[in-house]
């Protein structure tokens, strides 16, 4: 705690502790500078990013991105709370310091809509790419909260087209169950139904169902 006070004299007022955590609060724009010092200073040496979580304190208040750091030299977890403006939710990405922040930041972008500047791969992590809402915001109401009206721009019953699972049901080509015979046979039935074949007509020599399905 003394070290943190020396390194960051302007955040001392926000120091807070419980039994095994030390907590500081910083403005979001300073997160890179503070975290780099915490990681690279040999007396602090917080080498491990244990967690990076986004918190929504409700409409009109703020977002927070909360980092938990671990160091061998100190007996406590260090919690760094970086505040983010809720109307303009953007904060520098820390993927340059810890690459492992990537999935944390993608999840926060997906769930809360926080933009991480400098993140090379800020896609949705869980929801489909054309999903528009941010489910973990406080004003995202669950469908059974019928008494509450949804806030602007948030639709809890949104159902993107890509949730149509037919698009993703891809059997193979490396699926062991889709063995070589099964797929040509299946398409042969569609392309060459028996009812349309004249009765009693001989099949030409060398022509099998599998041949019929091959592209011509």
């Amino acid at each position: 705690m003394r070290l943190i006070g020396e390194r960051f004299p302007d955040v001392v007022s926000s120091l807070w502790t419980d039994e095994d955590t030390v907590e500081i609060t910083i403005p979001g724009a300073r997160n890179l500078e503070v975290l780099r010092t915490l990681r690279d200073d040999p007396e602090l040496a917080f080498w491990m990013l244990a967690d990076e979580a986004g918190v929504d304190y409700g409409p009109g208040v703020r977002f927070e991105v909360v980092y938990h750091l671990y160091s061998d030299l100190h007996p406590a977890w260090l919690r760094v709370r970086a505040t983010v403006d809720r109307d303009d939710p953007s904060i520098p990405s820390i993927t340059g310091l810890w690459e492992g922040a990537m999935f944390h930041e993608r999840e926060m972008y997906d769930m809360l809509g926080i933009i991480f500047e400098g993140n090379r791969d800020l896609r949705r992590l869980y929801m489909s790419p054309d999903y528009k809402s941010f489910p973990q915001r406080r004003d995202f109401l669950l469908p059974d909260d019928a008494a509450d009206s949804p806030a602007a721009g948030v639709n809890p019953l949104e159902r993107p087209e890509t949730w149509d699972l037919v698009r993703f049901a891809n059997l193979g080509p490396l699926n062991p169950l889709a063995d070589a015979g099964a797929l040509p046979d299946a398409s042969a039935v569609v392309a060459d139904p028996a009812g349309d074949q004249p009765e009693g007509s001989p099949v030409e020599a060398g022509e099998t169902d599998a041949d019929a399905s091959r592209p011509r």
Binding site: G100, F103, N170, R216
Partner: protein, 430 residues
């Protein structure tokens, strides 16, 4: 139909009709024939599904889906038998060698964090069970610790020891299954059967103490649900006396296998620096030589009194990650012995009301799950349910190493490397 009429020998394919029509129109207008959209599309006869039909959203996505000469995309999953759940890997391959890889998640996403924010503190512990379904006890451990910290109580000593006991048992079965799945993904069908025999003994034991086989719902805020009973203790004694022999059998079957060694040594090496930077934790991190174990680094109650060392391996390849699991099973066996020796008497649950309303505040609790650092960050606003409930699942973060790890490996080794990381999709997708 008479024999004199010309007979069509095959029903024309509508796709071909369109193509013929298009070719005719193109020829009439003097335009060159249409190029084939994707190599292989003509043979496959259907649209390639790997490439998204929308502009890339990020630099990384553009890089991934831009194919150079000789490269193609192979879609693995989401229903692939060895993706350990519902998960999709998009592999960019050049002949048989992986050059890039994308992990596509979300097929199992249930919004457990959001569910928990709408549940009371005591019922949250039932929701987190199905997250990482191989280690339900660990899933309940971290929220219980976090809520106790928020509420300002501590579980009685006997409850803490029972917690450590069931958690270590759970670790043994999770690591044991990982050994079997690793062999299974490389084509060895036998070890998984023995792993499941061992696993069922532990699961029956946990069922005897908690009443459930997989979704235990055993932990409570301020203690555990039941004390140990005779059936549990007798099963524990029987199992403990033969577990080391079972483990040895399993080792003989897998570890000494020449094919297994050839396919795992020097395969999928995670360097020490990469492991730290990418947030890898747990056995995978220790296999890369970093001695980090939450039970030592931030010991939660019973582990302060137990003796154990942090085991590490040197190389960080698939084989080391497998050996690390075996070493940790043996370590857990010794921990279980110590716990049984030191188990104090007393109550197993503190006096806690059914609906608790902690004072406004924040609490962070981390535990060592079989897959690494599993932590919960809970915020209370004074109400009966958590204002924010955040879980850091180790398998999700560990999966980030796949794009780093796979370039240069064969497609067939993808599954071996992934099984060695031991991700559980229930936890990854939350």
């Amino acid at each position: 139909m008479t024999a004199t009429e010309p007979r069509e020998t095959r029903i024309p394919d509508p796709i071909d009709l369109d193509a013929a029509e298009e070719a005719r129109l193109r020829a009439a207008a003097g335009i060159a024939p249409a190029p084939i959209a994707h190599p292989g599309a003509e043979y496959a006869g259907f649209e390639m599904v790997g490439i998204p039909d929308r502009p890339p959203q990020t630099d990384r996505e553009r890089e991934l889906y831009t194919l150079e000469e000789g490269e193609m995309l192979v879609n693995m999953g989401p229903q692939h038998p060895s993706t350990h759940g519902v998960m999709r890997l998009v592999l960019k391959v050049r002949s048989e060698v992986v050059t890039d890889l994308d992990v596509v998640l979300g097929y199992l996403h249930r919004g457990i964090e959001k569910l928990c924010e709408n549940a009371t503190y005591t019922t949250v512990l039932t929701y987190v069970d199905p997250m990482d379904y191989m280690s339900g006890m660990h899933n309940e451990h971290a929220p219980a610790l976090a809520f106790e910290k928020l509420y300002g109580i501590e579980a009685p000593p006997r409850a803490q020891y029972i917690r450590a006991l069931v958690v270590e048992l759970n670790r043994v079965f999770s690591h044991g299954l990982m050994m079997g799945f690793l062999a299974l993904d490389m084509g060895g069908l036998t070890p998984i059967l023995y792993s499941f025999i061992n696993r069922d003994e532990i699961v029956d034991m946990l069922s005897a103490i908690s009443g459930q086989r997989m979704l235990f719902n055993f932990f409570r805020v301020g203690g555990v649900n039941f004390d140990t009973n005779d059936e549990f203790l007798s099963r524990l004694g029987t199992w403990h006396s033969k577990q080391l022999k079972n483990l040895k059998d399993n080792e003989l079957l897998i570890t000494d296998n020449e094919i297994f060694k050839a396919r795992t040594k020097k395969m999928g090496i995670i360097s020490r620096e990469d492991a730290i930077s990418l947030g890898v934790t747990g056995p995978n991190l220790r296999a890369s030589g970093v001695p980090f174990d939450v039970r030592k680094a931030h010991p939660y109650p019973p582990y302060r009194d137990l003796e154990f060392d942090v085991i590490t391996q040197a190389n960080g390849d698939v084989y080391d990650r497998y050996i690390q699991r075996i070493a940790e099973i043996k370590q857990s066996m010794s921990l279980i012995e110590q716990i049984m020796d030191k188990m104090p008497h007393g109550p197993v649950q503190a006096q806690v009301p059914g609906i608790i309303r902690p004072r406004p505040g924040r609490a962070y609790a981390a535990i060592e799950s079989p897959r690494g650092l599993y932590s919960v960050y809970a915020i209370s606003d004074g109400g009966p349910n958590p204002y924010r409930f955040r879980m850091r699942d180790p398998s999700l973060i560990t999966l980030q190493v796949m794009p780093k790890l796979m370039p240069g490996h064969l497609i067939a080794d993808t599954m071996a490397v992934m099984a060695s990381l031991d991700p559980i999709m229930g936890g990854v997708d939350k």
